[in-house]
Amino acid sequence: MSKLLTRRGVLRTGAVAGAGVALPTIFTAGSASAFVNEPSGSTVTLGFNVPQTGPYADEGADELRAYELAVEHLNGEGDGGMLNTFSSDSLDGTGIMGKKVEYVTGDTQTKSDAARASAKSMIEKDGAIMITGGSSSGVAVAVQGLCQEAGVIFMAGLTHSNDTTGKDKKANGFRHFFNAYMSAAALAPVLKAQYGTDRKAYHLTADYTWGWTQEESIAAATEAMGWETVNKVRTPLAATDFSSYITPILQTDADVLILNHYGGNMVNSLTNAVQFGLRDRMVNGKQFEIVVPLYSRLMARGAGENVKGILGSTNWHWSLQDEGSKAFVKSFGTKYGFPPSQAAHTCYVQTLLYADAVARGGSFNPCSVVEALEGYEFDGLGNGPTLYRAADHQCFKDVLVVRGKENPQSEFDLLEVVEVTPRAQVEYAPDHPMFAGGNLGECNPGA
């Protein structure tokens, strides 16, 4: 026994095995593939990672509808949607580079660990070559990190925190959705025009990454135009009744309440604010106002009449009249019977942009996709001329300032576009302090 299993023998075997494990997998993989999940057959698999359970399940369902529509259009089914208006002509309805598009889905549950687990499963078990989707910045940052490590492309869904393309940006990750800085930059001039420069703002902020960057961005933008920030109060993400956070506002001379809340938080805090008569309040001779920096039509439904007249921003709205938006609304509305949400729009667009980048680059290799998307200028996808900036993989495009509609004509007609803020007004330097601290790094093809 001792001859068979000596200390030296174990060490030698371990060292050889360790060296083998430590070798880059691209060498061990040999000629099998140059990158992770390289498609070898006649199909290519995309991974749609959306919240199918949990508080954002409805938004996730809308994202999934948009993905299914995008796959249909890529495979040459349906009316083609925004493929007909997209400025690029590399997609011809024959899938991606002639491979039929298939997909698998995962459930993020709007929890970072669950989202990473479902993305990992889609990459390792299902062979997904690209992961996309999500309705939370916490989830986006977590899954983006995973995709960078795994060597697949991540096309973010709805994520609005500055951090996603700021301190947490990654070379394999791309965001089409706008961010908190852009919301603030677009909203500030409208707030100035509507409410003047002599205002006192009170912030209620959801206590997590998105809330913090939204508060920082809108406070900086409103202070720059002369508003005073009276207080910034962080509220637990799990809070449902905001009355005890709203009543202290009555004790201050604040005349604007900024709700840095999203989803159920926004519905409840706005409802509570209206219940406590804030919208009927006069302070220092001025009408008290409420601002919701990030609007979602799906969430606005939950707040009902309380959203009427309240200003906010959104990435896209179905009432836009450009050709791309009209084509998308027609496709989506005909298939599902109601207009798409902004989450659906960004997910649809991200899928097309990925497919287009593969086709233009001539390869599914993530590094080829990164190269094709970096600095890419496109149009016809609903937001006007758009740039995927190379420095941080953030899309730059016009931003919509919207207001809760006073006389809605239907259950979908909740928001009206007040202003389309030009892209130049929401641009910022890649090293802007609100986005500092991150490093894009090198693209990782995995394998």
Binding site: T240, Y245, P248, L250, N268, Q275, R301, G304
Partner: protein, 343 residues
């Protein structure tokens, strides 16, 4: 001073919800000895009774309005609720407007039926099982119920407003000699507090002044002896389970205008309500009500900026902190019977 009054008022409506849920939990624990983790789901189902009645009242027929277009550019379909067509626009609108108060009548039989079905169909099989088994099965049931609600109603909150007449706020400040607009309190929250007080009073009166209540109280004290007297105590306890479900359901119905109902709202209240029961004293009905209001008010005070500046994050832990202190110093809770949780 005005800030303190406001937080007491806030605590009263929060405490009302805690007290009503904890009251039902205590009724079930006291009578059946079951730790019911599905009780929050009953609160949620109550709120969805209000949503359902609102939807029933707004069931509409479609007509085509050629002068308007929908989002696809087709002639718009105009929805007209049947109640408006049957009773005229004014009466129809009033019926829809009053759907939440009317949902009280709608919810009572539904919640009683849900409670009865739960107890006969599932809970009764776990009477003699350990509390851990009861917690697991009722928690599982709660998840099933909330997923069912999510399947049919979606995951987003659903706006269920109070009647127009109660949508404003009352200026307590003027009443108490403060400046106007400093102590404002919504009418519906005042109604919620009054409603909770009436329900609590009615449950206590029912248990105190009726023969049925007397038998139930006797059964809570000594189930075996009451059984030996030839009284079918199990049947009465089943009715008490249904009653507890109705109390939780009504708390949910009236809560619907305060925060838009969503499928998860039961879970949001469940853990806190259990803490309320433990602090009040397991099995003590007055303890549950007292602890509900005390903890509701403490939670409101902990949310004040002045307090949070001294102890950051205190608003999220105050209830658990109080529970730890109570359990360390008085394990049977504020009004629990001697011996319960003390062995």
């Amino acid at each position: 001073m005005d800030a303190i009054i406001l937080q007491i008022l806030n605590g009263l409506d929060k405490g009302s919800a805690y007290a009503l849920i904890a009251l039902g939990l205590t009724l079930i624990f006291g009578t059946l000895g079951v730790v019911n983790f599905a009780h929050g789901a009953l609160f949620m189902i109550g709120a969805f009774c209000a949503v359902t009645l609102q939807r029933l009242f707004t069931i509409s027929y479609e007509t085509i309005d050629e002068t308007k277009t929908d989002f696809l550019g087709n002639p718009a379909k105009v929805q007209t609720p049947y109640v408006e067509s049957w009773f005229g626009p004014d009466v129809g609108q009033a019926v829809i407007d009053w759907s939440v108060p009317l949902a009280i009548l709608f919810a009572i039989p539904i919640m009683a039926l849900v409670g009865f079905a739960m107890e006969r169909g599932l809970i009764k099989h776990f009477y003699r099982r350990p509390h851990a088994d009861q917690i697991l099965v009722t928690f599982g049931l709660a998840i099933v119920l909330q997923e069912l609600i999510k399947h049919y109603y979606g995951a987003n909150p659903i706006q269920t407003p109070a009647p127009d007449a109660f949508r404003g706020s009352f200026d307590f400040g003027v009443l108490l000699g403060f400046d106007p607009n400093h102590i404002i309190y919504p009418y519906w929250r005042m109604i919620y507090f009054a409603f909770a007080a009436i329900i609590v009073g009615a449950v206590f009166a029912f248990l105190r002044f009726t023969t049925f209540g007397m038998v139930v109280r006797a059964g809570m004290a000594d189930r075996e002896t009451v059984g030996l007297l030839g009284i079918n105590i199990d049947k009465r306890f089943t009715i008490m389970f249904a009653l507890a479900a109705v109390v939780a359901g009504l708390a949910g119905v009236m809560y619907a205008p305060i925060n838009s109902p969503n499928y998860h709202m039961g879970m949001d209240f469940l853990v806190l309500s259990f803490v309320v029961v433990v602090v009040g004293g397991m099995g003590s009905l007055p303890g549950a009500v007292l602890a509900g209001f005390v903890l509701g008010i403490l939670e409101s005070f902990a949310s004040m900026n002045e307090i949070k500046q001294i102890i950051p994050g205190i608003d999220q832990i105050i209830i658990y902190l109080v529970a730890i202190i109570i359990l360390l110093t008085r394990p049977r809770g504020l009004m629990g019977r001697r011996g319960v949780m003390e062995e």
